[in-house]
C-alpha cells in the first residue's frame, strides 16, 4: 500500500536572495547568494573574485623591492602589516639581520596600523547593526593615525612603509611625542565607544549568541586572528612566533569565552588597549642606531622556499615565497590572506540565522575584499 505524504497547504518555496556584489554591508565586492526560508538563512554560497587582480602572478614578475608596494594593495586598510610581513619573509630567506631600532619602529607602525584597522572595523560593524554614531567616532580617531602615518612616510593609505632589511626613513623629530599623545587620546575615546555599545541592551541582543563557533571547530575551519581568539583560542603570531620586537614587550592576548559576535567584539576592543600598551613600551624604549641592516644593492635571495607569518589586524597573514636564486624576482609568491580564511567560515556562521545577522556576521569577521581576492 502506498501512503501519500500529506500535501502542504501552500507551496512554500525558498527565496533566493542575491546579496551583493553591490550591497552596502558586504564591505566591498563580496557576493553572497542566500537561500532564505522567510528571513532565515537555509544555506549560502559565498562568491568572491570580483577584485581579483592577480597580485600573486604580478609579484612573480616584479623584482623583490617593487613587490612591497604591491602588498600595500592587498589589505588596503592595513597596508603596513602586509609590508612588514613581506619584508620579514624576504629577510628570513636572505638571513638578514634587521637593526633593533628598525624593529621597534616597525612594531610601532604595526600596532598603529592595527588600531587604525580596528577603528575601521568597529565603525563599519556598528554601522551594520545600526549604530551610526560609533562609525564617525571611530573614523575620527583613525584620522589621527593616518596623520601620524602621513608624517612618517607621506602616504595615508598605501604606505610602502618598510624596506627589505629595515626602513626607508627614520622617524621625523617629535613624532614619538605625537604617538604618545595619540595613545593618551585613544585611551579616553575607547571609553566613548564602550559607553555607546558594550552594555547597550540592543547591542547585546544583536550580538550575543550570534554566529557561535567553538574553539576546536574554529581551528579546523582555519579561522585566524581576533575571529579565532573570540572562540577562546589564544593563538596570536605575535606571542607564539614572535617577530619584529614583540618578544621584548609585555602584552596579553585577549580571548573570548562563547565564540559569538559579542566576544569577537570584546576581543578586538581589548586589542585596542593591548596595542596602545605595546606602542607605549616601544616608544619609551626606542633604541638608537641605524635603521637599515646590511643588504646588497641588488636583492637576490639564495634559492629556497620559506613560509613566514605575521599577525595582521585581520589575523595570520603568511607569505610563502620560493626563490630560484638566479633571477631578480621571486619564482613563486603566495600570500595566505587572513580575510580569505575567515570569509570561508562565514557560510558555517550564518546558517540558521536571520538576514540581519548575516550583516552583523560579515562585520564580525572583519574582511577586506582586496585581500580575499588579491
Amino acid at each position: 500500500m502506498k501512503i501519500e505524504a500529506p500535501r502542504p497547504m501552500f507551496d512554500t518555496s525558498e527565496l533566493v536572495l542575491n546579496m551583493g556584489p553591490q550591497h552596502p554591508s558586504t564591505h566591498g565586492v563580496l557576493r553572497i547568494v542566500l537561500r532564505l526560508d522567510g528571513e532565515r538563512v537555509v544555506d549560502a554560497d559565498i562568491v568572491v573574485g570580483y577584485l581579483h587582480r592577480g597580485i600573486e602572478k604580478l609579484c612573480e614578475n616584479r623584482d623583490w623591492s617593487q613587490i612591497i608596494l604591491l602588498t600595500d594593495r592587498m589589505d588596503y586598510v592595513a597596508a603596513a602589516s602586509s609590508n612588514l610581513g613581506y619584508c620579514e619573509t624576504v629577510e628570513k630567506l636572505m638571513s638578514v639581520e634587521v637593526p633593533r631600532r628598525a624593529q621597534y619602529i616597525r612594531t610601532i607602525l604595526g600596532e598603529l596600523q592595527r588600531i587604525a584597522s580596528h577603528c575601521l572595523w568597529l565603525g563599519t560593524h556598528a554601522m551594520d547593526i545600526g549604530a551610526m554614531t560609533v562609525f564617525l567616532y571611530a573614523f575620527r580617531e583613525r584620522e589621527l593615525i593616518l596623520d601620524l602615518f602621513e608624517e612618517y612616510c607621506g602616504a595615508r593609505l598605501t604606505y610602502n612603509a618598510t624596506r627589505i632589511g629595515g626602513l626607508p626613513l627614520d622617524i621625523p623629530p617629535g613624532w614619538d611625542k605625537k604617538v604618545r599623545e595619540f595613545c593618551h587620546i585613544m585611551d579616553s575615546k575607547l571609553g566613548e565607544y564602550e559607553t555607546l555599545l558594550t552594555h547597550n541592551r540592543i547591542w547585546l541582543d544583536r550580538t550575543k549568541g550570534i554566529g557561535v563557533i567553538d574553539g576546536p571547530e574554529a581551528i579546523a575551519m582555519g579561522l585566524c586572528g581576533p575571529t579565532l581568539r573570540g572562540s577562546g583560542v589564544p593563538r596570536d603570531v605575535r606571542k607564539d612566533e614572535p617577530y619584529a620586537a614583540y618578544d621584548e614587550f609585555d602584552f596579553e592576548v585577549p580571548i573570548g569565552t562563547e565564540g559569538d559576535t559579542y566576544d569577537r567584539y570584546l576581543v578586538r576592543l581589548e586589542e585596542f588597549r593591548q596595542s596602545l600598551r605595546i606602542i607605549r613600551q616601544a616608544v619609551d624604549g626606542l633604541p638608537e642606531g641605524p635603521i637599515v641592516g646590511k643588504v646588497p644593492r641588488l636583492i637576490k635571495p639564495p634559492a629556497g622556499e620559506t613560509y613566514h607569518a605575521v599577525e595582521s589586524p585581520k589575523g595570520e597573514i603568511g607569505f610563502f615565497i620560493a626563490s630560484d636564486g638566479r633571477s631578480t624576482n621571486p619564482y613563486r609568491f603566495r600570500v595566505r590572506p587572513p580575510s580569505f580564511c575567515n570569509l570561508q567560515g562565514l557560510r558555517r556562521l550564518i546558517r540558521g540565522h536571520l538576514v540581519a545577522d548575516v550583516v552583523a556576521l560579515i562585520g564580525s569577521i572583519d574582511i577586506v575584499l582586496g585581500e580575499v581576492d588579491r
Binding site: 573574485g49 602572478k57 582555519g222 620559506t306 603568511g318 580564511c341
Partner: protein
C-alpha cells in the same frame, strides 16, 4: 689592412637562463636536530617520506602522493605532532619536470606551536586527494589552487573555480600562462575579443 677581417665577435645575446627544474630542498645540516614528531613520523610512515629538508628554520617533508592522506591524518592526530591548524595550501609550478606541480601544505599546531610543510609532487592530471575531510579549512584553499593551477583535486566537496570566472579558460598562475592574460586582443580591442569569445562559446554549445 687585412682583407679578410674576421667579423667582430658580436656579443652573444645572453641566453635566458633555462627554466629551473625544481626547488632545492636542501637536506638538514648536521648541527640541526630533527624535531621529535618527524622522527616519529619516520617510524610510522617511513615508506611514504621521500625527503626531509630544512632551510632557514623551516622543516619540510616531501611525501609520496599515494600516502598523502595517511601522513596528514597521522600528523593531525599524533599527540606529539597535533597539527590541527592548516595554515595554507598552495602549489608551485615547475613546468620542465614530469610531475610539474608541488602541492604544499603549511601546517601549524596550536598546542605545540610548531610548523611543518608537507609537499607532494603531482603531474598535470594526476589526482591529488583532497584534505578537506581532515581540515575543513582546506576547502577554499584547494579550490583556489585548482582554479589558478589546475591541480586535479579529487574528493573535494565543492570543486569550482573560486577567484576566476566560472567560464575561464586555462589556469593563470601556471608558469606557461602568459602574463598579459588570454592574449593581446583582449587588451587592445576588448570588443573584438568579446565577440570572438562569444562565437567560440556558441560553437561549443552547438
Amino acid at each position: 689592412m687585412p682583407s679578410t677581417s674576421t667579423p667582430k665577435p658580436v656579443p652573444k645575446a645572453k641566453a635566458p637562463p633555462a627554466a629551473p627544474t625544481g626547488p632545492v630542498d636542501p637536506a638538514p645540516p648536521e648541527d640541526v636536530s630533527e624535531p621529535d614528531f618527524l622522527t616519529q613520523l619516520r617510524t610510522a610512515h617511513g615508506a611514504a617520506i621521500q625527503k626531509v629538508s630544512y632551510w632557514v628554520g623551516d622543516w619540510s617533508v616531501i611525501v609520496s602522493l599515494s600516502s598523502l592522506l595517511d601522513v596528514v591524518k597521522y600528523l593531525r592526530d599524533a599527540p606529539d605532532a597535533a597539527f590541527d591548524y592548516c595554515s595554507d595550501v598552495t602549489a608551485t609550478d615547475w613546468p620542465p619536470r614530469d610531475q610539474r606541480f608541488d602541492v604544499i601544505y603549511c601546517l601549524y599546531s596550536t598546542r605545540h606551536r610548531h610548523r611543518v610543510r608537507i609537499k607532494v609532487h603531482a603531474a598535470e592530471d594526476e589526482p591529488v586527494p583532497s584534505v578537506t575531510d581532515i581540515w575543513p579549512a582546506a576547502n577554499w584553499l584547494e579550490r583556489e589552487v585548482y582554479d589558478l593551477f589546475g591541480v586535479n583535486f579529487v574528493g573535494h566537496p565543492d570543486r569550482r573555480r573560486l577567484l576566476m570566472p566560472d567560464e575561464w579558460q586555462g589556469h593563470p598562475q601556471r608558469k606557461d600562462y602568459p602574463l598579459e592574460g588570454p592574449g593581446e586582443l583582449l587588451m587592445e580591442n576588448p570588443q573584438d575579443w568579446l565577440r570572438l569569445r562569444n562565437i567560440r562559446d556558441e560553437a561549443e554549445i552547438e
